[in-house]
Structures are given as C-alpha cells and as structure tokens.
C-alpha cells in the first residue's frame, strides 16, 4: 500500500548514491601523482598484473585509502544520525559536540606515552583509546545537556569542549619527541593517508558489526523520532535504547578518529543531505543511505584533498568543512526561520 511514487524515489536515490560511489571509486583509483592508463588499472585490478610500482600504488596505497574513506565516511555519517536522534536535533554530530576531539586527545596521549617508551601502537589500542576519549567527551556533553534546555547552548558547549581538547592535543604534540611529530601532526588534522590493508580489515570489522546492530535498531529509532513518551508507550526500553545510541555512535566516531583523525561536519551534513534526497527520515532507509552518502562525500572530499594542490595534500577536515559547513549553516538558518 506504499505509494508507488515514493517507492520509486527511494530506489532512484539508492541507485544514484551507488552510482556516485562507483564513479568516485574509479575516479580515485585513476588519479594521483603517478598517472596510469585505464587499461593498466583494469589489468592491475582484475588480474593483478603489471609493473611492480604500479601494482603497489594501486593495491597498497590507493585501494586501502579509497576503502577507508568509504567505510569511515559512512561510519561518521551514521554516527551523526544516531546523535541527532538521541538529542532530537539535526545539528548534533560527533564533531560539533566535541566527541571527535575528545577521542583525538586521548589517542594523542596514548601514542605519545607509548611511543616515548618505544612501544609500537597497534590499531586496536588506537580504537580503544579513541573510544575512551569519545566516551569522556560524551559524558561532559550529557552532563551539560541535563542542565541546559536549549540545543544551541549544548552545541556551543560541545564546540568549547572540542577547542579545549584540540588545544591540549596541539600542546602535547608540540612537546612530543621529534621522530613521531610529523606522523602525529598529520593525523591530528585528519587524513586518510597512510592506511594499509590491516587497518582496513580492522575498521571494516568494527564498523560493519556496529552498523549491523544499528540497522536492527531502526525500528526503535523510528519510534523515538516521535519523542520519548510515544517510544516508551510503544514498549521501547528507553534507558537501554539511549545507552545503546550513545555507545554505538561513540564506537563509530571513535573508530573514525583512531584511523583518520577528526573529520568535521560530515556527521551533520550527510544525514541532512540524505534525508532531503529521500524526503523521509525513516531510519531503515536513512541508515544505509547515510552510509553510502558518507562514503560518497568523503571519497569526493579526499579526492579534492589529494589532487587540488598535488603534490601537497590538504587535511581532509579542511575540505569537509568547506563543503559541509555551508550545509550546516543553511540548516540552522532554515530552522531559525521556522521559529524553532
């Protein structure tokens, strides 16, 4: 009994996102400081045949980077969507609420501490550290949200938390041992570079398991969109549900921060764009679409980051900010106009 036109819209939206993703993947594979002909690339991708350097560039540098951008971008968008559901406000996101920055701070601390003692930091440790940081920031945000009724104040607090964390991180990096600074510095600005297959498989495992759980929560998330009262009446265990939202969104944004550093505004801009595209907020559609959309968005941003001023690379966060912040500003202005 669902409207046919509406159904068609969903199909087209998903196809469009998938198509964009495929195009961007090909485009990204094909672009970089070393230029390769399409024929060579096809050969390398399908048959793993070709020149050693080319093989290495495609398989060990470009592909992991592309996959990371998709997985992490998707994770970030879904994390944003969960936070927006939690706070009942479309301007909530892991970056504005200071959660990414909190994760960044703890990761830097752990890295500096361990590297200083000559211990290599594994990806798992990074994720754990980032998760811890995300939870600490989230704790602050929640404490504040109990005291302030207005969402705008909460966002201001989140931004402040973000600034404090970033400042402390910068401070730490400035005084860290030289050998690690370059690496740490790049990471702390946000970048998809330097990720290998091991990283990709770990992030894929964490993100996909989390997304699987999130997807199966789309029913209570849908009920929660009508407000806590109605959700409770529907039989949703509100305490458990809210806890799950916090944990899942923190895991996702922590995973992103651990691998690529803080990435701004994707968590707000993408869910908004996706919802406008689908013309619905139904979680069962928005969650997968957010993942796809986040992948598309980050892949595109990463493409810009590494090609516009090549060989110099921009930090991914500057690019996402330039593209994402206007969307966020537009949303705020529109909401203000509606008197909310």
């Amino acid at each position: 009994m669902m409207n046919k036109k509406v159904c068609l819209r969903y199909w087209i939206s998903f196809l469009l996102l998938a198509l964009l993703l495929v195009i961007l993947v090909l485009w990204n594979v094909n672009s970089g400081s070393v230029s390769l002909s399409p024929r060579e690339i096809v050969k390398i991708l399908l048959y793993r045949e070709g020149e050693d350097t080319a093989l290495h560039i495609i398989w060990d540098i470009r592909l992991p980077r592309i996959l990371s951008a998709i997985i992490l971008g998707g994770a970030l968008s879904v994390s944003g969507f969960l936070l927006q559901t939690f706070f009942g406000n479309p301007i909530a996101g892991p970056f504005v609420l200071g959660i990414s920055s909190g994760a960044k701070l703890v990761v830097s601390l752990v890295m500096i501490f361990l590297l200083g003692r000559g211990i290599l930091v594994g990806s798992g440790t990074m994720i754990l550290a980032a998760f811890l940081g995300a939870m600490i920031s989230m704790g602050f945000v929640l404490a504040v949200s109990h005291r302030v009724k207005r969402m705008s104040m909460l966002v201001v607090c989140g931004v402040m938390i973000g600034y404090i964390c970033s400042a402390v991180t910068d401070f730490l990096i400035t005084f860290a041992d030289d050998s690690n600074i370059v690496n740490l510095h790049n990471w702390s600005l946000g970048s998809f570079s330097g990720l290998n297959w091991e990283h990709v498989s770990l992030m894929a495992a964490v993100v996909f398991i989390t997304l699987f759980i999130v997807f199966f929560m789309s029913k209570p998330i849908g009920a929660y969109q009508l407000g806590e009262g109605y959700a409770r009446n529907m039989g949703v265990n509100i305490k458990l549900f809210r806890l799950a939202l916090i944990l899942l969104s923190s895991v996702l944004s922590a995973c992103v921060t651990a691998f690529a550093g803080p990435i701004s505004f994707v968590g707000i801009a993408v869910p908004h764009l996706v919802k406008s595209l689908l013309k619905t907020a139904k979680p069962i559609l928005v969650i997968p679409a957010c993942f796809l959309g986040g992948g598309v968005f980050c892949l595109f941003c990463d493409f810009i980051a590494r090609t516009v001023f090549a060989p110099t690379e921009l930090s991914i966060s500057s690019v996402t900010a330039v593209l994402g912040a206007p969307v966020v500003i537009y949303m705020m202005v529109r909401r203000q106009g509606k008197g909310m």
Binding site: M1, N3, F216, S218, Q225, Y230, G235, K275, A281
Partner: protein, 375 residues
C-alpha cells in the same frame, strides 16, 4: 474487580521520591470515559503519566486488563494501551501517514516493516478521524486540530483497548475541540474503549465523561459521575476561584459583579436581560434585576452579575410582594431599563414596573445604545 479494565489500588504518584498525590483509586470499565479535572499543577499529568508507565509509581498498583502494569512487557502494554500526549511533537520529514503508521509498532516484526494488513489498518484509522485526505501531508505543516486528529488516529491504529489522553483539546478552537471529542466518543462506543483523559474545559468534561476525578491540593478531592461533581460552589472551590463565578448548568464562566448599591434597574426576563446585564457589568455599573422567575434563563446570569435580584417562584405570576420590593429598589436607582418587548399574564406586574419607571422619569428607552453612563 474483573469488570474493570483499568483500576488502581492505593496508587501514589509523584516525581522523584516526593509523593504528590496519594491513595488514588480509580475504576474504569471498557466503553467509559474518565476525565481528570482540576487546577493547573494539581497533578493531572502526573497521574496520567503514572498510569501509562511514563513515570514509575511511588506506591500501589495499576491494573490493566486484570494484570499489574508492572508485570507487563512493553509489547503487551502497547497492544492494550495507547497514549496521546500533550507535548507537541515535530518529527522531521514525516507525513501524517507515517505518524499514524508508527502506531503499528507492537504488531510489526524486528525491522518494523508494515505489511498489507497493517497499511489497511492505518488507512482505516485515518478515515475514522476524517483525515484520509491528509495522508501524504507533512505532519509539521498541518493545523493543531488536524494534528490532534492524526495523533488520535495513531492511537486507534495501535488497536488498543484503552487510550490515555493528556489535554487533547488544548490549542484547539471550539470547532476542533468539539470535533475531536465527538470522534473520541464515537470510538469509545464503537470499539468499547476505556478512555482516561484530562481536560481543561469543564463544560465539555461534564458532557462527555462517565466519571470525573477532581484533583486538588495533593488529593483526589471528589470522584463520581458528572452529575454528582458539577455544582457551582464545588467547582469554584476546586479551582480556588476568587473572582467571578462558574455556572454548572450552562458550564459557563461569569465575571465578578460590579460592587455597590444598584444604580440601574433592569426589568428583564425571557433572555432579553442577559445582554444588558453583561453590558452593565462590563461598564462597571452595579445594577438590580427583577422581577425574574427563578426558572427564567435570565436568572442565573442576573444572580452572577447583579448586586440585587428580585425573584418570583417558578410557574407563578409575579406577585404583589415581589412587585413592591422591586418598586422600592427601582425608586432608589438613577436609571431603569426594560429590554423586554412583550408582557403576558405571568409578568403583568413587570409591565407596571415599567410604567412606574416612566412616571419617575428614569426609564431609558433604547437599551441598545451606550447611554447608561449618562449622569
């Protein structure tokens, strides 16, 4: 207790650990409407939230369908009890149909996808509240009246046996208030629903409810059929009214009368007096009204607004005694008004009063004009 669909035993409600209202005992059968009335902040919403498990009880038990609410799973409760809450919701990008469809939650599978049967129920519910044409409209862009109807449809779509509504008529204009309550009453009759709700409109509460609960000052002050509850003096006490009065028979409010000895005498009756009384009250002029039969429509209004009312027992012609009293008062007034155009056998003496006023030279002939304040 089996006959009752919702009942409470020794229920104590409140926020946090502070009990607000204690020992609440309500009993409700299916097909009945129970209405909570009482001043703002008395705890009506607190009671409703406790019955719907939005707030945990501080004591006692709520039984739904013969079982303690606390032992029920979320889904079991959702299939029996639906709510319409007072907080305004503004979900993002949801059509009215989506909002109504959310009522199917306790019947759908793990992913919450609605089947053919579910959509049929959604459309049925929307038709029941006469909102079929709103299906594809954005929920945040419809009027308050439509919104309440959609939320009612959502509750109906949940196929409950009881619905709890918290001030469903707030924000609605009179047409939509009546419309909503009429639909609700119809549902109650057709689907044998048990309804618990809070209302601010006493007149409507009186007309629609089978039982009324008066919440006042941390207790249930009165509980019974509307006939037992609605007396002028009790309602004034319940709301702590100090200015003006409440008329239970008409369910209307009257402002407080002007103070002082009467300056204008109004010869009224048959409804002709009411607009004149109201006008004098508005202009702050104390007046006397007479001679009115105690069953005249003018009488309750005159009683609320006049500083003096001279009356006659029902079904008797106006007698000599009442006439003399009225004449005495009239003579002491500065002006007299006679809005009634006709006299009959029952109020012959009022005609005499009019002539007396004329002889005294104080009768104003056109009560429609703003001439009372002339000195």
């Amino acid at each position: 207790m089996k006959e009752f669909y919702i009942y409470t035993q020794n229920m104590t409600v409140g926020y946090g650990k502070q009990p607000l209202i204690e020992k609440i005992e309500i009993r409700l059968r299916r097909g009945e409407i129970l209405t909570l009335i009482g001043p703002n902040g008395a705890g009506k919403s607190t009671i409703l939230k406790s019955i719907t498990r939005q707030l945990s009880l501080l004591g006692g038990t709520v039984y739904l369908d013969g079982r303690s609410l606390e032992e029920m799973s979320g889904r079991e409760m959702a299939r029996r009890l639906a709510v319409v809450m007072t907080e305004r919701i503004r979900p993002e990008l949801m059509t009215c149909q989506d909002v109504v469809a959310s009522g199917r939650y306790p019947y759908t599978g793990r992913l919450g996808i609605l089947g053919e049967e579910d959509w049929k129920k959604v459309h049925e519910a929307m038709e029941l509240v006469y909102a079929g044409d709103l299906a594809c409209r954005d929920f945040s862009q419809i009027s308050d009246g439509q919104r309440q109807r959609i939320l009612l449809a959502r509750a109906i779509c949940q196929e409950p046996e009881a619905i709890v509504l918290d001030e469903p008529t707030s924000f609605l204009d009179i047409r939509h208030k009546l419309e909503l309550l009429t639909i609700l009453k119809q549902m109650v009759r057709e689907k044998r629903l048990a309804v618990v709700m809070s209302l601010h409109e006493l007149d409507l509460a009186q007309k629609i409810s089978d039982q009324v609960v008066c919440v006042h000052g941390n207790v249930i002050e009165k509980y019974g059929a509307p006939e037992e509850i609605f007396s002028d003096s009790y309602i004034e006490k319940l709301y702590g009214m100090t200015r003006g009065s409440y008329n239970a028979a008409f369910g209307c409010l009257e402002m407080e009368p002007a103070q002082g000895s009467p300056r204008v005498f109004v010869i009224g009756g048959g409804g002709w007096g009411i607009p004149v009384y109201r006008r004098l009250q508005r202009e702050g002029i104390p007046f006397a009204a007479g001679v009115l039969h105690e069953n005249d429509v003018d009488y309750p209004v005159a009683k609320a607004l006049a500083s003096r009312v001279i009356t006659q027992r029902p079904f008797e012609p106006v007698g000599e005694e009442a006439y003399l009293q009225a004449a005495q008062v009239l003579k002491s007034c500065e002006k007299a008004l006679c809005p009634i155009p006709v006299f009959g056998s029952m109020n012959e003496r009022n005609h005499k009063l009019k002539e007396l006023a004329l002889r005294q030279g104080i009768l104003l002939d056109n009560p429609g004009k703003n001439t009372y304040n002339e000195r």
